[in-house]
């Protein structure tokens, strides 16, 4: 089960591959992930620009973005519709392109870390963690156990607020006014909790290369009750939401992504697990114990919401586990030199960094959102326009993360 996540070139092509919870580089591609190769290699800012069903009598290019309240971010969806049915979708990422990979070359490590955090605000900690893991393995720094546990806690906090946000957006799209208000409240509470722990609502400037310093361990007990409160409230809401027929009707069998398509497109994270594939980087990390990460089979918007909701409960369990064992030693996961990755809320985040006298001489970044946009384009085919918002929101991705 190999998933191709990136291709970068030194003297020959290197392939970044995820395989059963590990990310590694290979030099010769196996046939299984070749369908993905061309788009990964080119890193085109236009997804599906060569779709064949664009033209024809009555086919209308529904251009959605970059300035519209429906999309919210700077990017364009071209929906090619015939009547109501969507025939194909192409997505233009270039409006968010900030040329970050090139701008990062030549920076020192501190400003590199800062730039990694500002690629995508809501995955700031995942970016920061993957970046610092890559640098640590390149210069050979050992991270102490407490910092490792704090990093796991922060990563799960990020997962909680991102998943809450996705379900909040889905509820809003389905006009579930009461659920939306309650979830918006929990979303803001989780951001305030982040600030209490790290000093930043989006866990920025918290992680550092070599570990997390200046952390007051007394706040961990408060954290436990705060997380418990948010997750308990969410649990009640989620149980009520699953009883609401007209909410479920909008999600069930909307924007189905088949597991074979998900694999060949390079999709990771909750979206892949909602298509029935057991794949998560946390499985292979010795720091996690007794993982029970949810998997659903259908691959529709409802499955993706279920996976995210149940991951919130799992995140709470992981945070509690880490706080209880806070003083115990753990073994760090070893990675290839200059290679760092982590399971972000929406999938695998990979950094490949080469250093030259403490400066970044080369960097390759693979983010989950780029692949998920291909998944959105794939899953929307055959649906109608009113399903569009559910498809986009249920993948939980954004242009800032996809267009580096």
């Amino acid at each position: 089960m190999k998933i191709l996540l990136g291709v970068f070139r030194k003297d020959i092509n290197y392939y970044v591959v995820q395989d059963n919870g590990i990310v590694l580089t290979e030099t010769d591609p196996a046939d299984t992930y070749l369908p993905n190769y061309a788009s990964v290699k080119l890193r085109d800012m236009m997804i599906n620009s060569d779709q064949s069903v664009k033209d024809g009598d009555g086919v209308f290019d529904f251009r959605y973005g970059p300035v519209t309240s429906g999309v919210g971010e700077a990017g364009i969806y071209h929906l090619y519709t015939y009547g109501e049915r969507i025939l194909s979708v192409s997505i233009d990422l270039s409006y968010k392109h900030r040329n970050i990979q090139n701008r990062m070359v030549g920076l020192d490590l501190k400003s590199g870390l800062k730039m990694a955090e500002s690629i995508c605000g809501n995955f700031a900690f995942s970016h920061s963690l993957a970046f610092s893991k890559a640098v640590e393995s390149a210069i050979g720094v050992n991270v102490d156990s407490k910092s490792q546990r704090l990093r796991i806690i922060a990563l799960e906090l990020e997962r909680i607020y991102n998943h809450l946000y996705v379900i909040y957006q889905l509820a809003q799209t389905a006009s579930q006014k009461v659920l939306t208000s309650h979830l918006s409240y929990l979303f803001e509470e989780s951001l305030r909790l982040n600030k209490k722990i790290s000093g930043s609502r989006y866990l920025k400037n918290f992680n550092d290369i070599g570990g997390i310093k200046n952390f007051d361990e007394k706040t961990l007990q408060d954290l436990k009750t705060d997380v418990q409160k948010i997750v308990n409230e969410f649990k009640d809401l989620y149980e009520w939401a699953l009883e609401s027929g007209n909410f479920l009707d909008r999600l069930y069998s909307t924007a189905i992504l088949k597991s074979s398509d998900a694999m060949s497109l390079g999709i990771t994270g909750p979206t892949l697990r909602a298509s029935g594939i057991r794949e998560d980087l946390r499985y292979n990390d010795p720091a996690y114990e007794n993982l029970n990460i949810p998997i659903k089979e259908e691959g529709d918007a409802l499955s993706r919401m279920e996976v995210r909701a149940e991951e919130i409960f799992e995140s709470q369990r992981i945070i509690f586990n880490q706080i209880e064992n806070f003083d115990a030693e753990i073994n760090a996961e070893t990675t290839e030199k200059g290679f760092g990755y982590c399971e972000s809320p929406s999938g695998t985040m990979v950094y490949k960094i080469d250093l030259e006298s403490q400066n970044i001489s080369d960097v390759y970044i693979a983010t989950p959102s780029l692949f998920a946009f291909k998944g959105i384009a794939n899953s929307l085919v055959g649906n109608i326009f009113t399903d569009f918002q559910f498809a986009v929101e249920s993948f939980g991705v954004n242009f800032a993360d996809a267009a580096l």
């Binding site: 970059p66 300035v67 309240s69 919210g72 971010e73 700077a74 270039s94 409006y95 968010k96 392109h97 900030r98 500002s118 690629i119 995508c120 605000g121 809501n122 700031a124 946000y165 909040y168 208000s181 309650h182 918006s184 409240y185 979303f187 803001e188 509470e189 951001l191 609502r201 989006y202 954004n398 242009f399 800032a400 993360d401």
Partner: protein, 145 residues
């Protein structure tokens, strides 16, 4: 037992000075009773979009101040520009500003980079704000705090 006959009632019970703002903004008091806002993302890291979503959450309850979020720039009194523009977004931004009905104001909200586009009618500029800072600035523009 009613408490307000003895303790007294202010007219806006829920609008005590909760959101003071230190930002320097130009006030537009014609929008004192209601203001409609359109937000445009021109290339921020999605963090500011999240802050705007958080501002619409139950804790802030912006409707009590008469602050509404419009779905089109043609319905808006205040344009909030999020981030500093990428090359491709400059033209859509200028087109959006052309669509705003007069009088209108522009509130620039930035992250790390500074924007120097010489936009018209800029009423304020915030850097790395939290939702309460954005709300405070809007209330100051409305002359409500």
């Amino acid at each position: 037992m009613k408490w307000w006959p003895t303790k007294g009632m202010k007219r806006f019970l829920t609008e005590m000075d909760n959101y003071p703002s230190k930002a320097t903004v130009k006030s537009m008091n014609i929008f004192k009773r209601s203001i409609h806002i359109y937000t445009i993302d021109v290339g921020n890291s999605n963090l500011l979009n999240f802050e705007i979503k958080a501002l619409q959450s139950a804790q802030y309850n912006t409707h009590r101040f008469g602050i509404y979020f419009a779905d089109s720039p043609r319905h808006a009194d205040l344009l909030i520009v999020l981030g500093s523009p990428t090359k491709n977004m400059i033209e859509p931004l200028m087109n959006t500003i052309e669509q705003m009905p007069k009088p209108f104001g522009i509130l620039i909200v930035e992250e790390n980079d500074e924007m120097d586009l010489e936009l018209p009618n800029v009423v304020g500029r915030l850097k790395n704000p939290e939702p309460s800072d954005i709300l405070g600035a809007i209330l100051k523009i409305m002359e409500r705090n």
